[in-house]
Subunit: 127 residues, 4 copies
């Protein structure tokens, strides 16, 4: 893990790229949220018409594109958080802490429903 860059380092790099091009003017949080969605769609397109485990695996031409499109999503997401004043690492920590409560491991193991679709779920119930 020693060589893995931090979120702060990656953010600084994508910001430098945009700044060198005077792209701040286009980089409103709203525009960047659109860009995240567009790039997520391009990532998803690579998996279109294949099946989860079935007879038609990912077309070999598409494999290297997954990394490429994933990088696009990350670049836009880092730019968005940078411009919207979001501390993405802190947000992920918060998210995981809340998800631990919403999806207790002993209850949801091996199932992938939304938290309010479990038979025993009661609105407003505290754990």
């Amino acid at each position: 893990m020693a060589d893995s860059p931090t979120l702060a380092e990656l953010t600084a790099r994508v910001r430098a790229f945009a700044d060198a091009r005077d792209w701040e003017r286009f980089h409103s949080p709203r525009n960047l949220a659109m860009a995240v969605s567009v790039e997520a769609g391009e990532l998803l397109e690579l998996y279109l018409w294949s099946s989860d485990g079935g007879p038609q695996p990912l077309h070999p031409d598409r494999v290297p594109k997954v990394a490429d499109e994933a990088a696009d999503v990350l670049m836009c997401l880092l730019n968005l958080c940078d411009r919207a004043g979001v501390d993405l690492a802190a947000a992920l920590t918060d998210k995981l802490a809340r998800a631990e409560l919403k999806y207790p491991a002993d209850r949801v193991r091996g199932q992938a429903l939304k938290y309010d679709e479990y038979p025993e779920w009661e609105p407003g119930r505290r754990r």
Copy 2:
């Protein structure tokens, strides 16, 4: 930047969360690509009907949700890269290197067209 977590650390944390719930079976790269797109849509929804710089700023109830939805996108993206064998940091480095060539700073400054929409763009032209 000293305290910012690395991508590898964040990946280890989201993987541990999924593993504790036996969610690997749902976490095919394809399913995770769907999840990235769904979460990107929820992020985008927060900016819907507002305007870029105009009279209707982001509704105050939505501000904290931006961090929350951005974290969801990142969580799904890290899981996807983990399961698809993608080195996301390397992919971002590659992406930026190619984007430097596709969008030379002195040419595209202050404009936000796609690389093939610039008047002087010629298909196949090398720089």
Copy 3:
């Protein structure tokens, strides 16, 4: 309006296109929902980096593409409803009827908040 095709006619046409290619096997509702999302992303991309009313209108090369991408979204959506047994026209009628209650014209006029973001909104309130 006499010449406008019905949803049923359009559905029959997109189904015939798929059937002639033996594409039913790929056209699970789930795959088609992915396709709707991918095509919606391509439509959105055309509006990326422009501004709502501002100095950078839609690039002229993109104008005809809007019709093209909108048709892609419709084609996938009709296929999805066809395969999932959804009566799309009835669903739209239901949706509008419920939206009339959720967004009463005299209350929401000229505002574009979600129904639960209006100051006077009360959970569970009936009208």
Copy 4:
């Protein structure tokens, strides 16, 4: 098919709904393209974590929601075409005519690759 509404009729209905609320001001084509994408994400979410044909079918609570979310996509798409001056029925006709050339039935039968992923595909080749 006699009772199926035409696209023009459906467009008139969604336009009347927006007009009664003075929502034209929010209904720029760009905003509506965002809305199509957001609604497509909500539709896709219903299929998340299930599998194409496998052990975890669509959760029964989600079935009626498919119709509901599909109607949302259609409503936004019709509004977008209305505001952007797109004749959606004509666009679909054009799209199908071009798709007939790009994906000849005798060549692509039973396969679901992109047109440029077929082994015999040659850039610029005419048929």
